[in-house]
Amino acid sequence: WCHPIKSVFVTFPGDVLKNMTDTELAETYLKRFGYMEIQDKSRLQSSVSTAKALKRLQRQLGLEETGALDKATVNAMKQPRCGVPDVRN
């Protein structure tokens, strides 16, 4: 009687939100809020590794700086927030 319910995800018409994997969510989030593309002192734009970007995000949000996409970081990325980037280039 305690079988887990087998969830079926459907695509809801008119839904702006898309079902994303955690990795897809992280990539989008890090890019959108400025953690992936960092301008250096010579004004050159360079991509940083996902681990570095995650560490930077974790520092900004006061999370443990693991550089890994752990549960706390994923949860933080799902929180409602302001659309202004955290890292400005």
Partner: protein, 573 residues
């Protein structure tokens, strides 16, 4: 705290803002109030002042929008991104945008302000008891006209206090119908509609016609959301339909089944599988006040902070008793300095304190607890001078948010936010000692807060209680033979239109000179109002032209949208 690169900030402290549109989630007055309180958060700790403009370009233009809303940064539906704002500067810079796929509240669930009824516009009290049953939403039970209502106290059966809840049957907002209710059915592009629709729009907002035929009359307004309406999805504005069938299973409440994000949703017809109509269930929503205060921080030059309790931290967190964090204060004062001096309170007439409520007579029985008696101020002038007995006023104008009615050395005032009842009479000579008894026109410059008084051929202005010597109106560039100025309309930044007879002039308040190209004829610019109005003034973004006991109200598109009595509509006699 952080500021934007180059410490972007406004180069003036008298910052202006304008609300371009409203959300269907809350009453306009509640939204206005949330924004005003959000600005006050910053003006309390800096020398900044915030003045609302009703037309023209303001420093901070505020709007609600969904998904792609006209800038390069689209919103993302419900939750996730809530709002964004741009750092200070020209054009889009300084503007604040709020995602209208969110459910905007004061942070603790639907805020339902009532209209009509006998609840005097109070908020709904949820839950409330009606005929022994407890209700947590507006209901149509007990009515045959389908208008949703709620009690404004916890027990309707005892107190009989109620008001009507926002619905398209009661009013619309924005649009061009001055808040008129929807007319159903209505015709749009030959089709008949029995409810609000998003057809014909790309922004997802629900609208309706306010006459039976949009195609011929072109009259429309946007539909307010009912408190029971779903958010987003493809059925915004519809209520959940319980039970509903989803993938063959019946649901009697909102569910997160079928979604990977855990959000609660419901169908708005009895069968999702067949109809595919759905929306998110109403929740506590996001505090418009808190989000606006954060966004206005950006609009003033603050970037995100990494202090979790700071207002400028990027993530939303509801707090009931909000106080600005030291980090935010340091940040904004780094840009603009700290506030000095006392509160800029206006001069007040001499008053006495009295109680409007007579003390209870002793009866020998245990007295019921009574609400505290609030002292009120009563002016020390002849109370027999009743504004409701006046047919025509010398001038009417809005000063410091209150509408002032001047007549023969006295004035009365009525505030925007109160119950609309007027106060007074007050003596002009006690508030503004150097003014003559007869004032033909007065207006307040929204930027400098200077108040200008025109009396005959003289003009005085007053700032922070200090008068300048009166000047002749010819010094402004008005003609020598002009006997008086009879009306004034503030237009955008630093300009005001002055009316006399059938002509008007535009005064540049900075140069204190009439602009070139004037006078112009009133009837050529303001069609449909009396060309010989004896008073003209701006109030809540509308132009008012007075003639005899009546006023003609004109909107910013220069359409006369109302003609009424000064006494009943403005003074609430």
């Amino acid at each position: 705290y952080q500021t934007f690169e180059g410490d972007l900030k406004w180069d003036h402290t008298d910052v202006t803002y304008r609300v371009l549109n409203y959300s269907p989630d809350m009453e306009e007055t509640l939204i206005d109030d949330a924004f005003a309180r959000a600005f006050k958060v910053w003006s309390d700790v800096t020398p900044l002042t915030f003045t609302r403009l009703y037309d023209g370009t303001a420093d901070i233009m505020i709007s609600f929008g969904k998904a792609d809303h006209g800038d390069p940064y689209p919103f993302d539906g419900k939750d996730g991104l809530l709002a964004h704002a741009y750092p200070p500067g020209e054009g889009l810079q300084g503007d604040a945008h709020f995602d209208d796929d969110e459910f905007w509240t004061l942070g603790t669930g639907p805020v339902v302000k009532t209209r009509y009824g006998n609840g005097e516009g109070a908020l709904c009290k949820f839950p409330f008891i009606f005929e022994g049953t407890s209700y947590s939403t507006c209901i149509t039970e007990g009515r045959s006209d389908g208008l949703p209502w709620c009690a404004t106290t916890a027990n309707y059966d005892n107190d009989k206090k109620f008001g009507f809840c926002p619905s398209e049957l009661l009013f619309t907002f924005d649009g061009n119908s001055n808040g008129a209710e929807c007319v159903f059915p209505f015709t749009f592009q030959g089709e008949t509609y029995n409810g609000c629709t998003t057809e014909g729009r790309s922004d997802g907002y629900r609208w309706c016609a306010t006459t039976s035929n949009f195609d011929t009359d072109k009259k429309y307004g946007f539909c307010p959301n009912r408190d029971t309406a779903v958010i987003g999805g493809n059925s915004e504005g519809e209520p959940c339909q319980f039970p509903f069938t989803f993938l063959g299973t019946k649901y009697t409440s909102c569910t997160s089944e079928g979604r990977g994000d855990g959000k609660l949703w419901c169908a708005t017809t009895s069968n999702y599988d067949a109809d595919k109509k759905w929306g998110f269930c109403p929740d506590k929503g996001y505090s418009l006040f808190l989000v606006a205060a954060h966004e206005f921080g950006h609009a003033l030059g603050l970037d995100h902070s990494n202090i979790q309790d700071a207002l400028m931290f990027p993530m939303y967190k509801y707090v009931a008793d909000f106080h600005l964090h030291e980090d935010d204060i340091e940040g904004i004062q780094y840009l603009y300095g700290s506030r000095t001096g006392p509160d800029p309170t206006p001069p007040q007439p001499r008053t006495t304190t009295s109680s409007p409520v007579p003390p209870p007579k002793p009866t020998g029985r245990t007295p019921k607890p009574t609400p505290p008696i609030v002292p009120t101020t009563t002016p020390v002038v002849d109370p027999s001078k009743d504004a409701c007995q006046m047919d025509v006023f010398d001038t009417i104008t809005e000063i410091q948010g209150e509408l002032h009615f001047f007549k023969d050395g006295h004035f009365w005032k009525t505030s925007n936010g109160g119950n609309g009842k007027h106060r007074g009479p007050f003596r002009v000579s006690e508030t503004w000692p150097s003014l003559p008894a007869k004032i033909n026109t007065a207006f307040e410059d929204p930027l400098t807060k200077k108040i200008y008084f025109f009396a005959g051929k003289n003009v005085d202005n007053i700032t922070r209680g200090k008068f300048r010597d009166p000047r002749r109106i010819e010094k402004l560039g008005l003609p020598n033979n002009l006997q008086k100025v009879e009306g004034a309309l503030q237009r955008g930044k630093g300009k005001v239109l002055l009316f006399s007879g059938e002509s008007f002039w535009r005064l540049d308040l900075k140069t204190q000179q009439i602009d070139r190209g004037y006078p112009r004829f009133i009837d050529q610019t303001f069609g449909g109002v009396p060309a010989d109005s004896h008073d003209v003034f701006l109030y809540k973004g509308h132009f008012y032209f007075c003639r005899d006991r009546f006023y003609w109200r004109m909107n910013s598109r220069r359409q006369v949208d109302r003609v009424g009595y000064v006494k009943y509509d403005l003074l609430k006699c």
